[in-house]
């Protein structure tokens, strides 16, 4: 288990400002955030490559804050793999084992085991520069896994690969925690990549850890505007007032309809309703049931197989995502009258602030 407590670190333009998180054993934890958020700095602080300005790092319960990297048993795979160019694939993988003074036959057995599992046993005597991107990636993984580290830190492991390899390597990464009994911490900036791979996601922005949760949680229950926008929730509707009723939480959207939400917000201040466009259900015709409201189609933008259908509800603009096919079936066009509905479970009430209220305060302190 890796636990970090209130880590602060300034490094050039990047900084971490009080990051705390506990990553469980055999977890696939993705640190997600835009460029410049401080993701790589966080990885490097966990690996021990930089002393932290403040805070502590625990590995399996031991405070390793003052340990040099070679004492932490945490392997680091940088974005471009950084294979040792003067060593063969075999020697790259055996590197850490030679440092541990393993006998030659044990080293060979371990390298064989790893290269068989990662399907690179035909490359053992090649020089790293002659390998393809995917092969380099697998060699770097084998090298990192060789000493049986507590955790593997991967910095944007897929971004240097081309589209086709990326998906295959992603599938492979996903299986690592189980196959090698290791914890994975994976840094990336691509939301869909995180969704596909993570067991939990930590979203980081400007050195602050904004939200931590399962992909499902982050995806459906963003805790602030930033997370909602970053995960491409397109409908952020200001809530004028809300009250608990027998059927759920009844919200009056400013300049729009009343919606029913399943859960009340956990916070007392102003609230927005976040609704993913794929959860807006549209039926042609203005007649709907009690839970629906009528709307007018004001724009349809087809992007590939999907379409962004913009609905006008009073002054409000609501985005719905539909497949092209279902638009055709419903014969929707600009000006169509429709009945739109949103299931209460798909209406999430989040604080109406850019960052979560508790972080917003420290943010303002910082910049003010």
């Amino acid at each position: 288990m890796i636990e970090i407590r209130d880590i602060h670190k300034r490094l050039g333009d990047f900084s971490l400002r009080g990051v705390s998180v506990a990553i469980q054993e055999r977890e696939y934890f993705v640190i997600l955030g835009p460029t410049g958020a401080g993701k790589t700095v966080l990885l490097e602080c966990i690996a021990g490559l930089h002393p932290v300005d403040h805070g502590q790092v625990f590995i399996n319960g031991v405070d390793v804050t003052d340990f040099p990297p070679e004492r932490r048993r945490i392997s680091y795979v940088p974005q471009d793999y950084v294979l040792f160019p003067h060593l063969s694939v075999y020697e790259n993988i055996a590197f850490s084992l030679r440092l541990l003074r393993w006998p030659a036959d044990r080293i060979e057995a371990r390298v064989t085991e790893l290269t068989d599992l990662l399907r690179i046993s035909h490359l053992l005597h090649r020089a790293p520069r002659t390998l393809s991107g995917g092969e380099q990636q697998r060699t770097a993984l084998a090298r990192a896994l060789a000493p049986q580290p507590t955790a593997l830190l991967l910095d944007e492991p897929l971004s240097a690969l081309d589209e086709t390899t990326r998906i295959a390597v992603g599938e492979e990464l996903k299986t690592l925690p189980e196959r090698f009994g290791t914890t994975l911490v994976h840094v990336c900036h691509d939301f869909e990549e995180a969704l596909r791979l993570a067991t939990r996601i930590g979203i980081i922005y400007q050195g602050l850890l904004v939200q931590v949760g399962t992909p499902e949680e982050v995806f459906t229950r963003p805790n602030c505007r930033f997370v909602a926008e970053f995960t491409r929730v397109r409908n952020l509707l200001p809530v004028e007032q809300w009250e608990k009723t027998a059927h759920g939480v009844l919200c009056q959207i400013a300049g729009g309809p009343r919606l029913l939400a399943a859960e009340a917000p956990a916070w007392n201040g102003p609230v927005i309703a976040t609704i993913r466009p794929e959860n807006v259900v549209i039926k042609p015709g203005s007649q709907g049931d009690a839970s629906s409201f009528s709307a007018t189609v004001t724009d349809i933008e087809v992007i590939g197989g999907a379409a962004d259908v913009v609905l006008g509800v009073g002054e409000l603009r609501l985005h719905a995502l539909m497949t092209r096919q279902s638009i055709g079936q419903a014969a929707l066009q600009v000006g169509s009258q429709v009945a739109a509905s949103i299931a209460p479970a798909d209406v999430h009430l989040a604080p109406d602030s850019f960052l979560p209220p508790e972080l917003q305060a420290s943010e303002e302190q910082q910049t003010g």
Binding site: A47, Y76, H86, L99
Partner: protein, 267 residues
């Protein structure tokens, strides 16, 4: 109109290229004008002259020792400058680079003066005489050449991405192991190139040797000093022979330095 614009570009290119080629021809022409003044026979005969052989052997000895010390010192010093933040970095940088810009003469005078200060006098009486003696020549050569060695070793380590060492650290290397197993082998060619350049440059040191060790025939006359003595006493054939030896060594060493991918950045 097209022709005018086209020819403007051609004219500009011709002008800037002309500056470079004028320079190259000037340098090559002047350096080559040494050769007509000595025949092959004079050259080979002069090489057998005892004064010439003494100065070559003595030079190789002094320069060998100086280069060895320079390499041993400049590899760690270059590594520190390349990898660590140091206090007073800009002052250290300026001091280390000073001998490149400083006239060699001044290095010689400074050494001379140092051995008249109390610590210098103590060294001369208790350890070894340096001023105007053979061991002093090594010092006189070392002093003005060490900067270039440090600069080329630093450039060698600069050419190795420090992330190789960082990854090595996470794989279990101490700093020393990361240096020995990763930084050193990856910088190897550049470090060899730096040593070669330092050696060639050391062979040519004149001003500081003349000042600190004097120009005494068959005693402190490394090749440049011997050239000076022979040229000023009219032994032109001996002087030109040694000149050609140095010139060839300089050309070959510089070419080797470049071939090995060496670099030396003053910045």
């Amino acid at each position: 109109m097209f022709a005018r614009l086209f020819s403007q570009n051609v004219l500009f290119r011709m002008a800037v290229h002309a500056a470079l080629w004028a320079l190259v021809l000037l340098l090559a022409g002047v350096l080559l004008s040494i050769f007509p003044f000595i025949t092959w026979q004079e050259f080979t005969e002069s090489l057998r002259d005892p004064q010439v052989t003494y100065s070559i052997n003595f030079s190789l000895l002094c320069v060998g020792v100086s280069t060895a010390v320079s390499v041993l010192l400049s590899i760690p010093a270059g590594y520190v400058l390349s990898r660590y933040r140091i206090p007073l970095a800009s002052v250290v940088d300026t001091i280390v680079d000073l001998p490149i810009v400083l006239p060699q003469l001044i290095a010689g005078i400074a050494l001379l003066m140092f051995f008249q200060t109390p610590p210098g006098v103590w060294i001369e009486t208790n350890i070894m005489e340096f001023a105007y003696s053979r061991p002093g020549v090594v010092l006189a050569i070392f002093f003005p050449t060490i900067s270039l060695a440090v600069r080329s070793m630093k450039a060698g380590f600069d050419s190795v991405d420090p992330r190789y060492e960082q990854v090595a650290r996470t794989l279990g290397c101490t700093e020393w192991q990361a240096f020995r197993k990763v930084a050193l082998p990856l910088a190897r060619n550049s470090l060899i190139a730096g040593a070669v350049l330092n050696w060639a440059y050391a062979l040519g040191v004149f001003g500081s040797v003349v000042m600190f060790s004097g120009a005494t025939r068959m005693k402190t006359d490394v090749i440049p000093v011997a050239i000076f003595l022979n040229m000023t006493t009219g032994r032109i054939d001996l002087g030109l022979t040694l000149t050609i030896v140095l010139l060839v060594i300089a050309v070959v060493s510089l070419a080797l330095f470049k071939r090995l991918g060496g670099k030396a950045t003053l910045a």
